[in-house]
Symmetry: C2
Subunit: 344 residues, 2 copies
Amino acid sequence: MRALFLGFGNVGRRVAEILADRSAWPGLADLDVSVIGITTGSKGALANPAGIDLASALAEVRAHSRFSGHPDASPLTSPEAARTLDYDVLVEMTPLDLPSRGKGAIDHIRTALTRGRHAISANKGPLAWGYRELRDLARERGGAFLHEAAVMDGAPVFNLARYCLRGNVIQRIEGILNSTTNFILGALEEGTSLEAAIAQAQAIGVAEADPANDLDGWDAAVKIAALANVLLGGNLTPEEVERESLSGIGPDRIKAARERGCRIKMVCEVFREEGRIAGRIRAREIPLDDPFALVAGTGSILRLTTDLLGKIVLTEEEPDLTTTAYGVLSDLLSITLPDPAITR
Amino acid sequence: MRALFLGFGNVGRRVAEILADRSAWPGLADLDVSVIGITTGSKGALANPAGIDLASALAEVRAHSRFSGHPDASPLTSPEAARTLDYDVLVEMTPLDLPSRGKGAIDHIRTALTRGRHAISANKGPLAWGYRELRDLARERGGAFLHEAAVMDGAPVFNLARYCLRGNVIQRIEGILNSTTNFILGALEEGTSLEAAIAQAQAIGVAEADPANDLDGWDAAVKIAALANVLLGGNLTPEEVERESLSGIGPDRIKAARERGCRIKMVCEVFREEGRIAGRIRAREIPLDDPFALVAGTGSILRLTTDLLGKIVLTEEEPDLTTTAYGVLSDLLSITLPDPAITR
């Protein structure tokens, strides 16, 4: 299986590290992937139809922050690579560009699927702004469009729905899916000011230099739209998601919640309303005996309410980069290995 | 798809009610199941190769606690029905018989699989005492052996492992899987005596008339062995599981735990030890910020620790009979409908 990697940030590099050190992961013994291209926005690109040596690619980026000295260095951009290289699966791991509504990533995936290739997206933009088109295109051309790492890191959100909830109607989804706001809420509870909490989050890498997209709920809105579209068959864009900004949550509200035995959490919700699928993010008072109250650090949680199975909750505890990389690897496994049929 | 039901207790009847009222469950529209036999230990049996009318079977049992007045009444025993009726899938829902180490249920399933038919088990005994043989027999004869309802009601424990954790090595499993002891621990925390707590549990149907199998950890030990054998490839019997009895947990221990900010929970554990798979159930002090501390009522929880994905937790909240029945229905769906391939 020949893979083209678009993007070589934290997730792309961790996927490459794991693939380069396959013997450390016994469950990946049968995963046969050869990376024939890696493109980036600022580090240059690599291409080699015989397969790139991932250890040397990683070493090159570590040493020089660029691929330019590598023997497989290439002038290809991501769109060019998606259009021209001979890969079986395109792995979209570029950063989400909110102003363009994920256009770059959507274009890359559309190109791959149009060519009848498979596409994996660790980028949630294509699920929020292009899901229906891309899913239909994949079906029409016979490729797979998988995206396990796009929401909740590598936790098997989409595989759970695909394989483990058959026969159910999902009625409602609730989740805590944005680590930045969750971390900051924890700091606010301990009496830290919003400014200091943001600085703390930035210091440990939980918040970006410009935290506005997290604070104002844009990151969560993109995830809500992704879940609504994939799991409930909606056609929701992040712009249509009702958002509440963390900036409006003052110490008084946190204190009042605590006095009622609750904690404030920013909760993502997807639900059916008047025959359509709607989504919102809002600050909710969560009682301390609800597992949503316990989500801390970079952890996340998702509750699915269904007609037959009832309520199940999936919690991801202390995820790290390997967890997110696993989302991409599980999609690669889904594509390269046969479906796990019940008679095997 | 022709199904033979062995057992018509709470779960069997709920499955039948749902199948008889298909229009209430939109996700089951494509589930094409005709029940051609129902056998029980004390209610008699029904058989009709053209399909039993489930509504009338349910009405008959409700009115007379027996099938004898039904037009499809039959003298068949479960072993005879398993051996002679022409079904596609045998659904084993008889009560677990601990003294015989699940022999009756294992025999029924062995008969079906030997005939090249599929088998579904809501009974955990066959996973604890016969898994390896039955799994190998299913593979050899081309049938499926599914058992989603056997542990944690209908929560997708086995489907999660089969479909959503590919590539991972499961290193450890922890769970709260016995509602009786969990309910009683909750009552003990509130100062109720053990005797009164047991009586309360019996009054609401959480404990059986003879609660010894729950209190002494046998129910949990059977579940631990089932998880060890299916999810970790072990070959563990319930007798080999280290057990701690709830009867040894006095009010002092509960109070001491609370003073340390913890609650006592009976935790099932499966882990690797000296190259083999081991299991135990023990009373553990759980800090209040661990979701295990929150499991109440008939809820249950499972934490899987893996090498790639890290730690994920599956929680089932407020399950009812429909939840357990869904475990059986999801297995019927797996057998009757094609696998959910990634390119569909």
